[in-house]
Structure formats: structure tokens, C-alpha cells
């Protein structure tokens, strides 16, 4: 048996999310079926993060155990041939030891959220950005974001379906910057709650519109109450950027 570490890029649009679902296609199922066709083995993928329906990944990390002897090149090319036409692509494959775990060994996760901030709707970037036509105050958004950085109880910014044991997380970074006609939000933490990034971005968008202040964001955080959330941003602007491991 070999444990393989894979780096995976995917467009979230056609999927119900990373995790297997009864009611629609998932990235996990797409990958598992490809490996099962290659090897004849029943396999299971474990990922650093379980993204929602519509959320994209530039470099998701996952692992899978395979009995059949394979080399990294053949595994990667085989999966990429078999997943077609699904928009999933394995960009890297390498052997890791049996103790290594894509989820439990992960010590950091980075997300990017893209807002298209111009009057005109997206054409080339449709499905890949959240379109907000009103001009947003990026400096106010960045300033308000700093109220969320650090160790906090993020209950306000947590989905009711979140399965995390504790709502207390340490947010290492939440930066907001303008890049041409887009506003980029960069988030980094050891781990995130379910819907945390989208909930934070949605709330910051209210600050950008001038409807909320940094004080309102702090108050919502301190309330520890999902009802105090400003807004949950849509999935199509969110990208899982990368997972960090001690051995990297």
C-alpha cells in the first residue's frame, strides 16, 4: 500500500462541493471513481478542506491509499484522463509516509475571495467572482477586517451545519486589497469554521457599502450569535488557495 499526496485544481461550478453527496456530483466522488477505474480498488480520498457547492480550488491537497504499484507520473496522468470532462485536474502527485494525513497533518489553510467591483457584470469571469456593482470602500473593509484577526469565538460567522468541536479559531490574516476592477480578500488560519470565510467577506461587503462600521463588525463578533451576521457571500467568489504542512 502506498499513500499518495495529491494537489488538485477544480472549478466548483458543477459540483455539490468536495465531499460525497447522495444528491449530486462531488469532487471527491469524481476522483475516487477515476482511481477505482485505474486500479480496481475501492479507495477513499481525504482532503485538507471540505469546500461547499460552487467553491473553487487552485491547490487543494488530498491523500489516497492505493495497493496497486504505480508511479507518480502515471497516477497523475491516469486520473487527469479519467476525470474528463469534469473540470478537475491533478497538478502534482507524490508518495508520503503512512502517518501523513491531508486533513490532520495540515497546519495552515489559505483562501482567496474575489469580488468584481464595477458597474458591468462579469463576462469572462462569470461564475468565478462575486459581482458587486456599487463602488466599495476597500480601505474601510481592510480596517474592519482587522477586528476579526486573532483568537476569537467565531460563532457569528459559523454555519448552523458546522461540525467543528469548538467555535474558537485563530485567524492569522484577513487582508483586503484592490486589484484593477477586483477586490481580493486573503484569509489565512490553521483552520476555519464552515462558512467562516464567506460570512466574513459578506459582512465586510456591508462595511464597503458604508452600511456597517468596524464597530458593528466587532459587535457582531462579540455577540457570538449567527443571527447577528451581516451577510453570507456567495460561493462562486471563493477559492481554496493552499494547505500548509510541517514537512513543506
Amino acid at each position: 500500500m502506498t499513500r499518495w499526496r495529491l494537489t488538485i485544481e477544480f472549478d466548483g461550478a458543477p459540483f455539490m462541493g468536495w465531499q460525497r453527496q447522495d444528491h449530486g456530483p462531488s469532487v471527491q466522488q469524481t476522483l475516487e471513481e477515476a482511481v477505482e477505474r485505474m486500479t480496481g480498488e475501492e479507495v477513499r480520498f481525504y482532503a485538507a478542506g471540505r469546500t461547499d457547492a460552487g467553491v473553487h480550488a487552485l491547490a487543494m491537497t488530498a491523500h489516497v491509499d492505493i495497493e496497486k504499484p504505480l508511479d507518480a507520473h502515471r497516477l497523475r496522468e491516469g486520473i487527469n484522463a479519467l476525470v474528463r470532462p469534469a473540470p478537475v485536474s491533478v497538478t502534482e502527485a507524490r508518495e508520503v509516509d503512512d502517518e501523513w494525513h491531508a486533513r490532520f497533518s495540515c497546519i495552515g489553510r489559505r483562501y482567496l475571495y474575489r469580488i468584481l467591483n464595477r458597474r458591468a457584470p462579469a463576462a469572462l469571469r462569470r461564475g468565478h467572482v462575486w459581482h458587486i456593482p456599487q463602488e466599495l470602500d476597500v480601505e474601510a473593509m481592510h480596517e474592519a477586517a482587522q477586528a476579526l484577526v486573532g483568537r476569537h469565538d467565531f460563532t457569528t460567522f459559523r454555519s448552523v451545519h458546522c461540525q467543528s468541536q469548538s467555535p474558537v479559531k485563530t485567524l492569522d490574516r484577513l487582508d483586503v486589497e484592490r486589484d484593477g476592477d477586483e477586490i481580493l480578500v486573503h484569509a489565512a488560519a490553521r483552520s476555519f469554521l464552515h462558512h467562516q470565510v464567506r460570512s466574513m467577506v459578506g459582512t465586510l461587503s456591508l462595511v464597503g457599502r458604508g452600511q456597517w462600521t468596524k464597530t458593528d463588525v466587532s459587535r457582531a463578533l462579540e455577540a457570538k450569535d449567527r443571527q447577528e451576521l451581516g451577510l453570507n457571500a456567495p460561493p462562486e467568489g471563493l477559492y481554496f488557495l493552499e494547505a500548509l504542512y510541517p514537512d513543506d
Copy 2:
């Protein structure tokens, strides 16, 4: 009557190209039908460039004459609402004088060609790049590209369907650079022949693979013979970037 200058972004995937065709949807028809529904007038769009099927535009410039009094904001928002769900978006609209012509007043055109140069196929960028899995020699491509810069008879790099009066064009710039896992080709000229950018990029890809040298590129150019073309690159990597006018 007011002449309107419009800047238009579009995803070329669902279109037969810019120009009206009997056998499928075009960007021109999509825009004309939107304005006709807004105004009740039969209108005609003229563009700086007539892109092929599958070719994208970040900022195509076009003009249209409209009798009905409108302001720029209403025109842009109206078209953007009416073209849906087609991936076309008017990013700017402004009045110009009756002498101004999107095609004939244009003094410069810029194109970008994106090659995804990694083993793994595109996932997020599917339909927006040309995937070449073999590692390309970018420096050799850039060096060979310089053989095409300047005033030449580009018959070799011209579609047999090209309607230009003369095959002689002055290529101002053809730069090749690596940007992460992509190779970007930047092309600038007063005007281009039909298929010229794709023909030049396809030929440079052979240089990148080590199959052709700069001398082969020069020889193909000097042959003034379409049969000597190395390869025509596919449309999905090509973007019309912008059109330049004396008054800008």
C-alpha cells in the same frame, strides 16, 4: 442621432465570433438585438476587430448609432440586462462625434495569447488557455518572435479567408514571457491579418518545443506561402485586449 462608443468584454466560447453569421450566434447579433429591444430601432455595430469563433475580448471597442435619446449609464445598463445570459458585458459607453469610427479611426490593436504550460490540463481556466503539456523554451520563443517584428509581407501567417487588401503589415511588438504556469504572448500592431496572431503563436510553439529554430521562422515568413506555416494555434487562448484611438 447619437454615435455611441462602447467597450465590450466577452467570453468567445458560445459564439461563432464577433461578426453576424447565418449558422450561429455572434457577439454582434447579441448586442444589436439588445439595442433593438431597447430602442425599437434597427441598428448596426461596427467593431475594431472581427474576432473568430472562440476568441475572447477583454476590451473590444465598437460603435453604434442610435436615434432615441439615451444617457450613457442607461444604455450600458440596458444592454447588460438584455444580453443575459450571453457572456457579454458593456464596461463603458460614451458619446463620440459622427466622424468617429471604431474600425477606421483605430490606430492600434493589442492581443494577448495565453498558453497553459504544465503537465496537468486546465480546470479553472478551461476554454481560456491553450494547454501544451511539454515544457516550452520561452526564451527561444521570444527570440524567434523578433524575426516577425517590423514591416513584412505576412502571407504565410494569413488565413486563406483573409479579406485584407494587402498582406503587408507592421508588427510593432511580439513578446513572449512566462507568468507562473502560463506563457503569455503579447502582440501589438496598427492592424492584423485574419488568423495572424494565432498563426504566429502556433509557429512559435514549435520553436518552444525545439522543433523549429528562429531561422525556420524567418524562412517561413520569407516564403510568403501559407503552406509554410508551422501551426495555427487554437482560438480559446486568444484575447482581444484593446483598441487604441488618436483621441485617447
